[in-house]
């Protein structure tokens, strides 16, 4: 699939206009997963705008977003970077055989107290 197609699809899926970004970095300042990410929230916005998608789609960073909405809440320009991270991840996991988490993997990850909520959430986030 072409890069331009990916970019268009990501913009449509996310509903985000990365041009609204004024590069203040508040999303990355507030992100709880910052240290776990290779590319940080502000970079998602910048790189999607510039079309540098191969790096983003190959990066493990897309599985590190906790969907905590902190960047959505605090962005002064209403860019909503979390939507972009979600859209890039979907662009990857929606491809055939690209599920990041498979149902068969789950039993090994369970313990006695783990709430069901964690499993369904992870499946929703990591798989199509």
């Amino acid at each position: 699939m072409s890069k331009e197609f990916d970019r268009e699809q990501i913009l449509r899926t996310s509903g985000v206009n990365p041009r609204k970004c004024m590069r203040c970095g508040k999303c990355s300042a507030t992100c709880p997963s910052y240290d776990e990410m290779e590319y940080h929230p502000h970079q998602f916005v910048y790189m999607v705008e510039k079309g540098q998608l191969d790096e983003l789609m190959a990066s493990k960073s897309i599985y590190k977003c906790l969907s905590c909405f902190a960047c959505v809440e605090r962005c002064p320009r209403g860019v909503e970077p979390a939507r972009l991270v979600e859209a890039v991840r979907l662009q990857v996991v929606r491809q055939q055989g690209n599920n990041h988490l498979k149902a068969n993997d789950i039993p090994a990850l369970l313990d006695d107290d783990l709430p069901q909520q964690a499993i369904v959430t992870a499946l929703r986030k990591y798989s199509k």
Binding site: A82, A118, R124
Partner: protein
């Protein structure tokens, strides 16, 4: 006062205490919670993608059912509340999404976000009233220092959830005061516990949960209350045992203060 009630899957399983205490307390406060007969799992996370329709239909069905029954819908688990409230908002505000979602449903009765979704806490604040609640407390928790943990899902995105100031909330603190205890303010009460990352990145969940736990401990709290089973899990399982404060559901505290928890009394 009658409400439709959406418990969610975790409350039927690992977080039964959250649910049980909520029902007992509601009864004591003269509120009837009518569980929706055919609710399905909310999915745990609200997909932010504009083209995710099918995964949100379970919520739309629950919302529509609540509309038919004619009562506002009460939720309890933070995650369910977040997903249902955001879905409802999208059905009301996003015409494109509403059109596509309605296309999956029975065509004769389109849904456009008519149901009012409130969290159990909002019900306590706005319907019962914290002052009235305080009068009904039979076993006041005087002297207890309690840290409220909001996490992220209860408050954000603020514009949609509209429960409280997302950066400086007070609803849980007011709740704690109503029960006769002292709320402890600490800065990480609205930061993420690590959430579902515990499944594949334990270290991340441990780091985040520890920040919250440490912050509450330094503020000299006796225990932490929460409305989210996953927060409760992370704070209990992903923090070092030394210095770990007990983490309980806010409804457990409520049932205790109202003196309705027979099991707890027997124990």
């Amino acid at each position: 006062m009658i409400y439709s009630y959406y418990p969610g899957c975790t409350l039927k399983n690992k977080a039964q205490e959250l649910d049980r205490c909520a029902r007992l307390s509601a009864q004591a406060l003269g509120i009837t919670l009518e569980e929706l007969p055919e609710w399905q799992c909310c999915g745990g996370a609200y997909s932010m993608a504009t083209d995710e329709i099918a995964s949100k239909l379970a919520c739309v069905r629950a919302l529509k059912d609540a509309r038919t029954r004619g009562h506002d819908l009460v939720t309890l688990c933070s995650a369910c509340h977040n997903v249902i409230k955001q879905t409802n908002h999208a059905m009301a505000e996003d015409a494109d999404f509403a059109l596509r979602a309605n296309n999956y449903m029975a065509p004769e009765a389109e849904y456009h976000g008519e149901t009012k979704v409130i969290h159990y806490l909002e019900m306590l604040r706005d319907t019962v009233g914290f002052d009235k609640l305080a009068q009904k407390v039979t076993h006041p928790l005087t002297g207890k220092r309690i840290a409220a943990y909001y996490g992220c899902l209860l408050l954000r995105p603020g514009k949609v959830m509209q429960m409280d100031d997302p950066e400086n909330p007070r609803i849980l603190e007011d709740f704690i005061r109503a029960l006769g205890a002292s709320p402890v303010l600490y800065p990480y009460r609205n930061e993420c516990c690590g959430g579902y990352a515990t499944l594949e990145d334990k270290a991340l969940a441990q780091k985040k949960s520890d920040t919250v736990m440490t912050s509450a401990r330094e503020a000299e709290a006796d225990c932490i209350i929460t409305a989210c089973p996953l927060c409760q899990y992370n704070l209990m399982k992903n923090t070092p045992e030394a210095g770990r404060l007990p983490v309980i559901y806010f409804t457990e505290l409520l049932a205790q203060a109202l003196g309705v928890d027979e099991e707890a009394k027997r124990a």
